[in-house]
Each structure stands twice: as C-alpha cells, then as structure tokens.
C-alpha cells in the first residue's frame, strides 16, 4: 500500500466516525456541528487525493468555513445548546428507518460489486483539477451555469432575509 492509499483509508474512517458522531449525538447540537466540520475536512482531504484541488479548497472554504458557521450562528442565536426534547419517539419509526437504510446501503453497494469499468486513463493529465482548467471550463462551456448560480444565490439572499426578518414593512 502506498502513502495515498493509507491516507485515503485514514480519511475515510475519520469521515465515517465523525458522521456517525453527528447523527447519533442526541444531546448537544454544537457538538453535532463540530462533527460535521471534521467530516467536511476529511472529505476535502480525499478530494486532494483524487486530484480535485480546487474542489477541495472550495469545500474547506464554503462548507467548513461558511455553512457550518451559519449552523453555529443559528444554534447559538436560538440558544439550543442542549435540546430538551421529550424522549420516547416511536420505536417503529426508528426500526423502519434502520431497515430502509440497510436496504439502500446494500443496493448501493451491490451496484458496484461487479467492479467499475476500465478507466480511460489511469494517470490524470497535467494540471487536472487545478484552478486554471476548472476556471477555463467554468467560463467557457459552463458560463450559463455560472450565471444561473448567481441568480440562485441572489434569490436565496432575498428569501432568507424575508424569512428571518421579524416584521416586513
């Protein structure tokens, strides 16, 4: 096993453990958000190993830097350090969710149990996934997509403001 493969398994274990910590932590929402940060950073490491350098940087900046901070802001704004929900959700729902997730997981894994098709090129071309190539692709082939994304973000800003505003006059 080479160093990248060992690093991949380390990041994978870290991502799965912290994702489980996020979902199964039923008392502290802040700890859930911190576990989410660890998952995001582990995934960014895997992106680096897969030679998606720009995506890894954007992952750290947007997910670990902005989205989780937004979550933390809301948790602290609402003063939800410990959620005090009454226990006793129906066990039927939990068992059903577990069964459903097991079925989905086995189906997803079965899809790829036959192995993936042979790749076009095992070695990525030089500069693959760097800011230059991704930028050229974004601003030539996908320029309409960039414009749509800007419109979407504008709509999200206006929508979030209107939703969170106390009184609309």
């Amino acid at each position: 096993m080479t160093v990248p493969v060992v690093l991949f398994y380390a990041f994978a274990v870290l991502a799965v453990v912290s994702a489980l910590g996020m979902v199964l932590n039923v008392r502290n929402t802040v700890a859930s958000a911190m576990n989410l940060v660890v998952t995001m950073i582990a995934l960014a490491g895997i992106y680096l190993l897969l030679e998606a350098y720009l995506v890894a940087v954007v992952q750290i900046m947007v997910y670990a830097g902005a989205i989780v901070v937004l979550f933390l802001f809301v948790v602290m704004l609402l003063n939800l350090r410990h959620d005090t929900f009454a226990p006793g959700r129906q066990w039927l729902v939990k068992a059903g969710a577990l069964l459903l997730s097991l079925v989905v997981l086995s189906e997803l894994l079965r899809l790829f149990s036959g192995g993936l098709p042979a790749p076009q090129a095992v070695l990525a071309p030089a500069g693959f996934g760097g800011y230059r190539q991704v930028g050229i692709a974004l601003y030539t082939d996908y320029v309409l997509l960039v414009e749509m994304a800007s419109l979407l973000l504008l709509a999200a800003i206006v929508g979030a403001l209107i939703l969170a505003k106390r009184r609309i006059d």
């Binding site: 609402l78 939800l80 939990k94 997509l145 939703l163």
Partner: protein, 106 residues
C-alpha cells in the same frame, strides 16, 4: 491511484448515515446537517468518477468537478433559506422539534 470502488463505497456509507439522520432525528437543525452530509456523499461520488475518466491533456473532462461546485452553491443557498425557516419557526413555536411541525400532516 486510489481504489475507486472504495471511494464509491464510502460515498454510499456516508449517504446512508445522512439518511438515518434525516429519518430519525427530531432536531430540525440536525436534520438540515444530515441533508448536507447526503449532498457531500454525492459530491464524493462525482469527484471519484471524474477521476476515473479524467480526459486527455488537450481536452480534460472536468464535468464532475463542475457539478460538485454547482452542488456546493445550491447547498449554500439551501442552508441559508432553511435556517431562515428554522428561525421563523422558532419565533412562532418556540421550539425546533420536528414533531411539533405537523400542521400539514394528515
């Protein structure tokens, strides 16, 4: 090169963990975080498949990574609007418990 089957397997496992969170948790904020986790799992699959077919030096195929960037954009918009909904819900109901949001439930 990394074992791509294992990358896709990790993606499936993370997706299912997010699904368990969406299905079982009652805290609306944690449900939103679980949705983020599912989106991230899909992103991982996109990046992995893009690494499998990287194209050539003259014509690099970066469609998977462009897709990931767009998913991240949509996720950011979704979190902004979702947390706005959480705040206005908390203002009206004084709770973020999903069990109390049942007005449209039959």
């Amino acid at each position: 090169m990394l074992p791509l089957e294992h990358v896709i397997g990790l993606s499936a496992i993370l997706f299912v963990i997010g699904m368990i969170g969406v299905a079982t948790r009652r805290n609306l904020i944690v449900v939103l975080m679980s949705i983020e986790l599912m989106l991230n799992a899909v992103n991982l699959a996109f990046v992995g498949f893009n690494r499998l077919w990287p194209g050539t030096a003259e014509a690099p195929a970066l469609d998977g990574q462009i897709f990931v960037l767009m998913v991240i954009t949509v996720a950011a918009a979704e979190v902004a609007v979702g947390l706005g909904i959480v705040i206005s819900l908390f203002r009206n109901r004084d709770s973020v418990d999903l069990e109390e949001v049942s007005l449209l439930k039959w």
